[in-house]
């Protein structure tokens, strides 16, 4: 069972469809107790950082516990950005701070948002969630990008005039800037890899 946190942000149906296509049971919920009992937790998200953080507030503690217990967690797009310490998008609002670092506006000179399919450069081929993925295209749509303090947690990048951080990982905590649920078969492969992560 995959548990998707419903915090009134984003396209929950698409991510749910992705898992269902893989014959996986999915629950979309805002019930704190259900989230607390989840084995695999997904935090999707589109929209603005500040609003998202406000809506995540009731679920913060259970998210921290889940990550603390090293159970599989996947943040997608804005769901990656809110894992960071802070964001230029909403300066006076703190992020979940599960990954240290800032979220910054993409530099000028190219079209913003960075919208479309970009080739993924996987940094560590052994990363369980990016297994068998290197060189595939994924769908990105974002105006802000994450800049982690510790480069060791960068799992993948893509080229948009500079190396945009495309995925982060530490233990069983994963996040992607791109949308696996909108990235065709390679995207579904990532969801499959996530399902296959063992719960300790």
């Amino acid at each position: 069972m995959i548990t998707i946190i419903d915090y009134k942000s984003g396209n929950l149906r698409s991510i749910s469809n992705g898992f269902k296509k893989l014959n996986c049971d999915v629950e979309i919920t805002d019930d704190v107790e259900k989230i607390a009992n989840a084995k695999h937790l997904v935090l999707p998200g589109v929209g603005a950082f500040g609003t998202a953080m406000k809506n995540i507030e009731p679920f913060k503690d259970v998210i921290y516990e889940h990550v603390e217990e090293d159970k599989p967690f996947l943040g997608i797009c804005l769901g990656q950005q809110v894992l960071m310490s802070s964001s230029e998008e909403t300066e006076n609002v703190k992020g979940l701070d599960l990954f240290k670092g800032d979220v910054k506006l993409l530099p000028p000179g190219r079209k913003i948002p960075h919208m479309g399919w970009n080739k993924l450069h996987v940094i560590n081929q052994d990363n369980p969630i990016l297994k068998g993925i290197d060189g595939e295209f994924f769908y990105f749509v974002h105006s802000y990008h994450v800049v982690p303090d510790d480069e060791e947690i960068i799992a993948a990048t893509c080229d948009y005039g500079f190396d945009v951080v495309a995925a982060l990982s530490r233990n069983n905590l994963f996040s992607t800037q791109f949308h696996p649920e909108k990235s065709g078969k390679p995207g579904l492969k990532i969801l499959k890899n996530f399902i296959n992560l063992e719960v300790k």
């Binding site: 396209n11 929950l12 149906r13 698409s14 469809n17 269902k20 929209g47 970009n118 749509v141 909108k182």
Partner: protein, 274 residues
């Protein structure tokens, strides 16, 4: 590197239960290309980068049908979906996004009420707010004949671009370049740019229009209207530097399969997803 996107467009008549894809927007010689769910699934399998689905009847009472189509379609199609036609309120964006769509395109409603773009972008994010611009050339003898317009020099003489609404049935006199910039400021995240001169002609996109709008905004521009062969798509990317190219009939009747078009583009130096 970011790839150029190929976007099949499904013009849908939603007056039958499952909807049906209509060839072209001219109603003179109606041809049906199949139902939208089947066609979208086929394009997904064939390598489309995104799908635009337009309710050409733009009828408010058919909203439910469109929601159903999107719901069924996104169970098997895992690429971005943009919905257009009849999007008038922020609630319409929310409804379509909840059904599984990723973006909504508006034209008439945004011209009538530009605030809609700002409100929608605050609620669903700019990435989901596409501005549809249907532009027609207005030729002038001299740039000074249209002092308040952005007049450009083309092969066929000086012209500016007039925004049309209600699917090309009415013209506003609004300069398309100014309007595109304004929409960006209001919160739109992408421009779906259709040439009314090119639409249905198969003579190629209006490259001068596409380049002018693309140069004027920082958000991505989708070229639309007039594609007849793969070379036209190549030109949209190499001459106008559009971010994406939209086409309908050349894909519906398999004149040019998507994969074939993409291989052709790649051979000609355009970065595409294969």
């Amino acid at each position: 590197m970011l790839t150029k996107r190929i976007i099949p467009c499904l013009d849908c008549d939603l007056q039958v239960p499952e909807g049906r894809v209509v060839k072209g927007v001219e109603f003179k010689e109606i041809k049906y290309a199949g139902n939208p769910v089947d066609l979208a699934t086929r394009y997904y399998e064939e390598g489309a980068d995104e799908i635009v689905i337009l309710d050409i009847t733009a009828s408010y009472e058919r909203r439910g049908t469109m929601v159903d189509v999107i719901k069924r379609l996104t169970e098997n199609v895992f690429i971005p979906i943009c919905v257009g036609g009849g999007i008038r309120k922020v609630e319409d964006y929310i409804k379509m996004l909840k059904a599984g769509a990723d973006k909504c395109s508006t034209n008439t409603a945004a011209i009538k009420n530009p605030e809609l773009l700002t409100e929608a972008s605050k609620v669903v994010g700019s990435q989901a707010v596409v501005i549809g611009i249907d532009a027609k050339r207005r030729y002038v003898d001299n740039p000074s004949d249209a002092p308040d317009k952005n007049v450009i020099e083309t092969d066929k003489g000086y012209c500016w671009f007039d925004c049309s609404i209600y699917g090309g049935r009415e013209f506003t006199g609004i300069d398309a370049i100014d309007w595109a910039q304004k929409c960006q400021d209001l919160g739109a995240g992408e421009v779906l740019l259709t040439s009314m001169d090119g639409d249905g002609t198969k003579e190629g996109y209006d490259l001068e229009l596409t380049k002018a709008i693309n140069d004027a905004v920082d958000i991505p521009v989708i070229a639309s209207g007039g594609v007849g062969e793969p070379k036209d798509i190549l030109d949209a990317f190499t001459v106008s530097d559009a971010s994406a190219a939209l086409a309908a009939s050349i894909f519906h009747f398999n004149e040019y399969p998507i994969a074939e078009v993409k291989h052709y583009l790649k051979e000609n130096g355009v970065n595409v997803r294969l």
